[in-house]
């Protein structure tokens, strides 16, 4: 049996490849017909080749289990790519850049004059209770006034086909290496499709990232010393840290490789003694950066690093404190912030959200808990959420109590039916829900990855796409053709 697109069930779903009447969408025709030509054996062979490539290339992610500690798992990638047409992508890209520009102006404002509060655009109560606002950063002027240099925004498409921003990750978003590795694997496994399609390449991200970082250098050197600071090989994103260092040709350092001198400059220990560092792409959280300022017992960071940063002797990306905008409560204000700072209308809509801090919103949320998704303001990775329609009575009661106790910490959104993409299950295709995480770079320029990392919930009907919780991924093709 081969893949039969006619029997593909799209009822009640928005599928990105097949319309509700069973027609293949424009742009996906060659992919659909190529897959349909494969015999079961051919499909199995391609799938095996894909898995072998991933194993050989050592593409892993780390999971923690109680029994075995941290172990490396092979990265899960589905054979069938997701297709986005270039024209649609261009609009999304403009929307993302617009969003990040406003967010950066917002963060800079919060750490300086706080005009958005005095002008009544953003409530001071939300700031006072923010877990990620860092008083240590007030008054600091990072290079170019940019705080969030690397942003990973999660996009979803609902059952009507509208693309929404679900959240903005401004702390240490990860996943970009998998986006590039997925492409490399697909080229090895389905080379014939790359001849048929004009697929926009994704691999200039590392050089874009390097230029973005180099532009922050405090010294006007021709070759600024840019390093990536990692917590080490046991971190779940270590693969990515080392991948980016490799691709950018810069040093991958750990906290104890760095030292802050009496001159408040940062140096790394080399085989020839200390060498000055200009820009640090840090992949550790704010609170572990500098034991002199934050967690005093953190061994991951560098004593004195905040001092060096505040004096402008080293650039940190993202800047400490940028996470203040990585907060579900702030999220609900982003369309207002875009209008306020840029005088523009938001290109990409937010998912309609209820801020539990507001009395009327809170009452609505508590009355309709079984219809809503409730999210804590500061968690990432899908933890601590309530999926109302799927929750038990007991869970609903527990969450109601949590929301009443600490309303600032929660927002609620209607349960979206995420769009689906055909996914290989056994030797047939079935619809599975997906999201999309593009990455947006900002310093003296803006750049967006071509497409993003598509994450897919591998269990039927599931909306959980996180790889730590059984999610998979897909290569994402931004294609030029119309109607092919």
């Amino acid at each position: 049996m081969t893949i039969d697109w006619k029997g593909y069930p799209t009822e009640g779903l928005f599928d990105e490849m097949v319309t509700s009447s069973g027609r293949i969408r424009p742009g996906a025709g060659k992919l659909a017909s190529t897959l349909a030509r494969f015999s079961d054996d051919e499909l199995a062979t391609r799938k095996a080749a894909l898995e072998l490539s991933i194993k050989e290339m050592g593409i892993t992610f780390t999971v923690y289990t109680q029994e075995e500690g941290s172990i490396d798992r092979s990265w899960p990638l589905d054979l069938i790519p997701r297709i986005i047409r270039k024209r649609e992508w261009d609009a999304i890209e403009r929307g993302l850049i617009q969003r990040v520009r406003a967010l950066n102006m917002f963060i800079d404002d919060l750490y300086h004059a706080q005009r958005c509060i005095s002008d009544g655009v953003f409530p001071s109560a939300l700031l006072e209770n923010s877990a990620n606002f860092r008083p240590q950063c007030v008054g600091v002027k990072p290079p170019l006034g940019v705080w969030a240099h690397i942003c990973g925004s999660d996009l979803v498409r609902d059952e009507h086909g509208t693309v929404y921003v679900l959240e903005d990750n401004l702390r240490v978003p990860s996943g970009v290496s998998y986006l590039m590795e997925n492409r490399l694997v697909m080229k090895r496994v389905l080379p014939e499709l790359f001849e048929d399609y004009t697929i926009r390449p994704v691999d200039d991200y590392p050089s874009q990232l390097f230029d973005t970082l180099a532009a922050l250098s405090p010294r006007p050197a021709a070759h600024p010393e840019v390093v990536i600071l990692t917590p080490g090989i046991y971190n779940s994103a270590y693969f990515e840290h080392s991948y980016l260092a490799q691709q950018m040709g810069c040093e991958l350092v750990q906290g104890d490789d760095l030292v802050v001198g009496d001159d408040d400059c940062v140096y790394m220990h080399t085989t020839r003694g200390p060498a000055r560092v200009d820009v640090i792409y840090r992949r550790i959280d704010d609170l572990f950066l500098d034991p002199e300022v934050f967690h005093p017992d953190s061994a991951l960071g560098v004593p004195g690093l905040m001092r060096a940063w505040k004096r402008g002797n080293v650039a940190l990306a993202n800047a400490p404190g940028a996470g203040v905008a990585d907060d579900k409560a702030v999220y609900t204000f982003v369309p207002d912030l875009i209008r306020y700072y840029l005088g523009e209308k938001a290109i990409l809509p937010n998912v309609p959200s209820y801020v539990c801090e507001r009395k009327e919103d809170r009452e609505y949320v508590l009355d309709n808990l079984d219809k809503l998704v409730v999210k804590p303001a500061n968690e990432s990775g899908g933890y601590g959420m309530l999926m109302g329609p799927k929750a038990s009575k007991k869970e609903l009661a527990e969450f109601a109590a949590l929301v009443r106790k600490n309303p600032r910490n929660y927002i609620a959104q209607p349960m979206l039916t995420l769009s689906t993409v055909p996914t290989l299950i056994g030797s047939n295709v079935e619809p599975r829900h997906v999201d999309l995480r593009p990455f947006i770079l900002s310093s003296d320029r803006h750049a967006v990855t071509m497409g993003g990392l598509t994450r897919v919930a591998m269990r039927k009907g599931s909306l959980v796409v996180n790889s730590s919780q059984g999610g998979g991924s897909k290569d994402t093709w931004v294609v030029d053709e119309e109607g092919s």
Binding site: I233, Q254, D256, V259, D262, C265, H269, P274, R276
Partner: protein, 322 residues
Amino acid sequence: MLARVAGNMYWMARYLERAEDVARLVNVNANLLLDLPRGIAPGWRPLVTIMGADAAYAEKHGDAVDETKVLRFLIADREHAQSILSTIASARENARTFRDAIPREAWEEINGLYHYTRDQLQSGLSKRGRFGYLKEIIRRSQTVTGILAGCMNHDEGYSFIQLGRKLERADMTTRILDVRTATLLSNDVSELRSFENIQWMSVLKSLTGYQMYRLEMQVRVHREDVLRFLLQSRLFPRSVLRCLDELGQRVERLGGGEHPLRVVVRLQRSLVELDVSTLSPEGLHEFVDVLQIGFAEVHAALDETYFLGSRVAASASEASAA
């Protein structure tokens, strides 16, 4: 480059070289045992001794020495840090910390070597599968070496990899010589002479040196010439002197390594001045001891100069002065 990364590269090379050398040693020993009469065959014990693992082995297996136990200990024992599986796992863990600094294919090859060693273990422990298994490990280690030589910039990092490899190689050559010569038969028993030659040949073969010996020395296999070849050849890449020559040149090119260089030069001189023809078995054993202490000194000096030294010396004030 980062001092920590330099150290990790050096260790990765040492572990890989060790795994490769043990694999050769096991294969050659198996071959040798097939050629020798039961009564005089040295068995498997010497391999444990060569690895300096007698105590660790005794703790696990007591006095029981048989092929199955020794091979499991040398190839597959995860608790034994010198087993092939452990050293390859260590090499991979080290490589993981500097994946960014070596060519992608090199990492993929090291990763593949680890998966192969682990996944094919059962076949590797069987009598029939063993030879092919170890040969494949050797071949894959050589591939790593080849990729690094052919695709990596011959920069500082490459020099540290070479330092690790050469030092480990010199160390293994002396270990093999030491243990093998101790178990070799005395010169007097004339009817066993042919077997003695077989054993000297096996020493050469464990170091893949048999053919090269014939080419360079142009004589049949004699104790004296074998010793001269393995200790003093300036051409054979596994001879101790040749390894030291390369070590010295690398350190010189790296710069700043006066201390390790002094130790290397001292060892080179003692090798050049050694008169093998007057060396008694006891004298050889003592000489090997001197060499091994010297290798430990070289390692300590490299560690202090390149891997740890800058960290110890780099107090904050010195850092500012730089």
